[in-house]
């Protein structure tokens, strides 16, 4: 399974970015291969309108099964993510990516349909 995190950095110890559209990085963890990759999204600060759909598209290209984030995407981004059948998991806004992954595995985070 491929799991995506919205983060402020590029490794497991990076704090989760509670924002979806304007997250600095998307961290991708491929469980089967045990590989962690970081996708730079910092250019989103230049985008005045539609950060949500834009980041959703970037995420969509990675084809994750699950997204772990903080507050959860807004309406526009949620509509785009729905299109990609990505499961949205929220409530990790104060954790590191590693803590968020563990919490998700322990079933401690909320899923949004």
């Amino acid at each position: 399974m491929k799991i995506a995190f919205t983060t402020k950095g590029t490794d497991w110890d990076s704090p989760i970015d509670p924002r979806f559209g304007r997250t600095d990085y998307i961290l991708m963890y491929d469980e089967d291969k045990d590989v962690l990759t970081a996708i730079d999204n910092t250019d989103i600060s230049e985008v005045a309108h539609g950060a949500g759909p834009r980041t959703a598209q970037k995420l969509f290209e990675q084809k994750p099964d699950v997204l772990i984030t903080g507050n959860g995407p807004g309406g526009n981004a949620a509509r785009a993510l729905q299109q990609g059948n990505i499961k949205i998991v929220t409530g990790a806004g104060t954790m590191t990516a590693k803590q968020a992954y563990d919490a998700y595995k322990d079933g401690k985070l909320k899923s949004r349909k």
Binding site: N76, A80, Q83
Partner: protein
């Protein structure tokens, strides 16, 4: 002549001044009052009249034609607002992000994004003797006020003789809706309250008016509360202070009942008459 009544801060008295001034002036000559605060129009609480007509406002947005689309992705490359995105084999259009620029539609090699009209609000025209009142109203759930403001101004332009005085009750703030409501007027009255919050937002509004190279003056509402910093600011910046509306409990009571202050409160009527005199001296009113 077109006068807009704007403010930086919300709740400083734009509607109070616009409705009372329009009503008072309409006793002397015909006046058009347009409520351009389309996200929350409330001039209609104070101006009652006979309903003349109602007109729907539409704007144009692209609609994806899946059968024609070859998924080249050109549409999303040209959209500066990320309102059109390609997700796999789907094109998604986000109506609330679309600014109706037609770029995606015109530049689509397959004509797969034809523009279609979509209802976003309405304009209602009322008449009370020599006061013609237009209310622009954005539909609930819509995010873009500018198209409705633009249409309401167009309506006011086309429907009435060029010489008639037009007063615009502008939206608060300093962003696109305010620009749209003020950019083509002859004079702007910025209304503020004499408090630190009022002054802070007034300065932002002044910056906008200077950027737009507009002629403007300031009215202090609820004069008597707060401090004298707004008066000092007007002096330092050489901005005409064209009126002071006194702070009165009876004004709040009358307002809360949807009444016009100029009708029942002599002190406020005097303050309004003084504003009218000052506008004449400044040759804003003839």
């Amino acid at each position: 002549m077109k006068i807009a009544i704007a403010s930086g801060k919300g709740g400083t008295g734009k509607t109070t001044l616009a409705t009372n001034l329009a009503h008072l002036l309409s006793q002397k000559f015909p006046v058009v009052l347009a409520d351009l605060d389309v996200e929350e129009p409330n001039s209609g609480f104070f101006i009652k009249g006979e309903k003349i007509q109602e007109k729907k406002v539409f704007r144009m947005i692209p609609e994806w034609d899946q059968d024609k689309c070859v998924l080249c992705g050109n549409c999303q490359r040209v959209c500066k607002f990320n309102a059109v995105i390609k997700l796999g084999e789907e094109i998604l259009v986000f109506n609330q992000l679309c600014h109706g620029c037609y770029a995606c539609s015109e530049l689509c090699p397959q004509n797969a994004l034809p523009m279609t009209s979509y209802e976003v609000g309405k304009i209602t025209e009322f008449r009370q003797n020599d006061l013609h009142f237009l209310e622009g109203r954005l539909n609930v759930g819509e995010e873009q006020a500018v198209p409705v403001i633009k249409e309401t101004i167009n309506f006011a332009e086309k429907k009435f003789a060029p010489g008639i005085l037009r007063i615009f009750d502008a939206p608060p703030g300093t962003s696109c809706p305010v620009i749209e409501a003020t950019k083509d007027v002859d004079y702007i009255i910025l209304i503020t309250e004499p408090t630190p919050f009022g002054l802070y937002d007034l300065k932002l509004a002044v910056e906008v008016m200077r950027e737009l190279k507009k002629d403007f003056g300031i009215v202090i509402n609820r004069h008597g509360i707060g401090n004298n910093d707004v008066i000092r600011y007007c002096k330092d910046e050489r901005i005409p202070l064209i009126g002071k509306i006194p702070n009165m409990k009876t004004a709040a009571e009358t307002y809360a009942k949807g009444g016009l202050l100029s009708e029942t409160i002599p002190e406020i009527r005097n303050a309004l008459e003084k504003i009218i005199d000052n506008l004449r001296t400044l040759e804003v009113l003839s």
